[in-house]
Subunit: 389 residues, 2 copies
């Protein structure tokens, strides 16, 4: 087991009705609130009205920053930072899914960024000490942004989607009932995102971190079980609650404690797809994950042991032929993704091979993925992209 640091200051209020904690969570930071949200979904479920009512009843001054896109744009961050400065904002309140929270994190840090170009901040300033405090109300079980410090921002002008470490939320309000209306497509895509966060840690060369591996396997099994229930019965509280808890843990860093870093290869490859084609992150991840798994298992026989562990402990398979068992685990995972109804090829998303080489070069800049579970060259990445067609 390798050394690690656990340092997550976020307070989670988890469960139905936890919005009762909103006013007291904001209060200690001040009265001027920047309310960050996306499109109409929080209005459709009545959450927007509820939040406004609570804020007004408690005499907060509200400035709105709406229209955050699913892959949040640097232009929205720029707008949010301007609003923070103009309205002397004390605390940022994000209401929405991971994109909204990511955008709010970049705004919270951007408020104190001393440079002129906020895209430069995203590209270079991964650990910025000073940020506005952030409170969020989660409405989608997927990215885990409610329980980590990371955020991903897209620049459509430069075709770049970059992950950066921004700031932890002070408080996250996680009420599973806010996810009852999430569509089947987004439920399945969000679940694939949760699982990918686990895969990126689970497939590592460190074999003796029993607790991390057990948590990882637990989350994977729970997501597959509860996603299926939620797809059939969208207002099943237990299923939605389990998915929400899984999402928060999956991206917290905890499933990777004590394990060798992998560079998160599927995320690196997917960010290129989203940057070029603005696709749904979780769908891109599911498509890539299966091909990445088969590619590395074919490339490196020493990967077999970990895939056998996955096949047995997560997919519930058994068998004497280890190589066959390893591949069978991947097949079973592909079947699960298919059953959830998400597209499983890039062709279905209207993507061809036009930019694969440029995307591979950017995903692997400076040989970034040489330290992955199985090292990836640009050629490997292009092959993986092609297998996704």
């Amino acid at each position: 087991m390798l050394n690690f640091k656990h340092d997550i200051p976020t307070k989670l209020y988890f469960g139905e009705g936890q919005i009762k904690k909103l006013a007291s969570s904001l209060e200690r930071f001040g009265k001027n609130v920047l309310l960050v949200y996306g499109g109409g979904s929080i209005k459709k479920i009545g959450l927007y009205d509820e939040v406004i009512k609570i804020l007004k009843e408690n005499n907060f001054n509200i400035t709105e920053c709406d229209g955050v896109d699913p892959n949040p744009r640097i232009t929205t961050v720029e707008r949010g930072v301007r609003l923070c400065k103009e309205h002397d904002i004390n605390v940022v309140l994000a209401v929405g899914g991971g994109s909204t929270i990511d955008c709010a994190k970049a705004i919270a840090v951007g408020r104190y960024y001393e440079g002129k170009d906020l895209w430069e901040m995203v590209k270079t300033s991964w650990h910025l000490a000073k940020a506005l405090p952030l409170v969020d109300i989660l409405t989608l079980s997927a990215t885990g942004s409610e329980f980590d410090a990371g955020g991903v921002i897209t620049n459509m002008d430069t075709n770049e989607k970059l992950g950066a470490v921004y700031t932890y939320p002070s408080v996250s309000i996680c009420d599973p009932t806010y996810t009852f209306s999430v569509s089947k497509y987004q439920t399945a895509a969000g679940s694939a995102d949760i699982m990918s966060h686990i895969f990126e840690c689970y497939f590592s060369r460190t074999m003796d971190s029993d607790l991390s591996d057990g948590i990882a396997e637990t989350v994977l099994k729970s997501v597959m079980k509860n996603c299926k229930i939620a797809l059939k019965d969208p207002t099943n509280y237990s299923a939605r609650a389990n998915l929400m808890a899984d999402a928060s843990v999956a991206c917290s860093g905890i499933p990777g404690y004590g394990k060798q870093e992998t560079g998160w290869p599927c995320h690196a490859m997917e960010h290129e797809l989203s940057a070029y084609y603005d696709i749904t992150h979780g769908v891109g991840l599911a498509i890539l994950t299966i091909r990445w798994m088969r590619h590395i298992l074919n490339k490196d026989v020493t990967a077999t042991e970990r895939f056998v562990k996955f096949a047995k402990n997560v997919m519930g398979l058994s068998g004497d032929d280890e190589r066959a068992l390893a591949f069978a685990g991947i097949d079973a995972l592909e079947n699960y993704f298919k059953e959830t109804g998400i597209p499983m090829t890039l062709t279905e998303l209207g993507i061809d091979d036009k930019y694969f080489e440029a995307m591979a070069a950017h995903a692997n800049v400076d040989g970034y993925l040489k330290d992955a579970f199985v090292a990836l060259t640009n050629e490997d990445i292009v092959e993986i992209y092609k297998a996704c067609l």
Copy 2:
């Protein structure tokens, strides 16, 4: 899944050599340090000298509070609080196992207690807001005190051992190499303590908290595997590291998230044993756990489902007869405890039935254990104690 709050502010530095973080962890609180420790074990392994060297090199003023007993006494807490006031202490540094950290927590909170009788504080003031900051260096994988807010203090005059919520450590330094010299007996007893923290949450009426249950099962399997390795090979880093991580998670509250509270029946019963006879906490827990399990499974057939889950997922058993499988899981656990070499009867510890009724009455004061997984009356508790002879 029930509502829960996650709010653990402790920063963990985990792994070999993390003592390098000691000076910076203390520095921000001030220069006057109360060093709390037990007997000779930290001197024997050279840790005392190392700590003193670091503190002196960094110009801290050291006041020592040594001689903390395995079941820490209110008299030591009183002495520590006096030292804090006399020496204008800024931060408490605990170096040792759970007893030392528990005692240090009580001192940290006691520093600001306004009453005159610190035992009154233990008995009544479970949530005290103000405390001196606390940093600890852990030397035993057992209580999880390094990652929770609780502490247990004993009053030998009144035969009382009481758990109270005190304060979270600011920083815990968890270096598995400090546990290399822990005896076989203490390794096994500590492992039983870790497992008991899990059992107290795992055996609950909430059946749909998949993540909590998966983490619980993971910790139990990891402890059984790694305790056996550590007993054979005490300096096996991987085994010691897994045990240390398991200990921190087990008592953190996380394995109980979303689950109905149980009142921790085995701890309630064991605290009476320790208070009357000053036995090793983990040993008392192991002895009680087996009899408690059999008693409640006999008493309440609806407990079967959970015991079957335990038998299958933790003990790796299978079978069609659910009642038989449930009891077989308990037998397998008893065999595991026996293999680790700890006494499995109270008679071996020189305990007879003299105080069983008084202990039962105190453990179950105001019908405290009526909300346990299976409700316990005073008569149930006496029967469980008797089965331990």
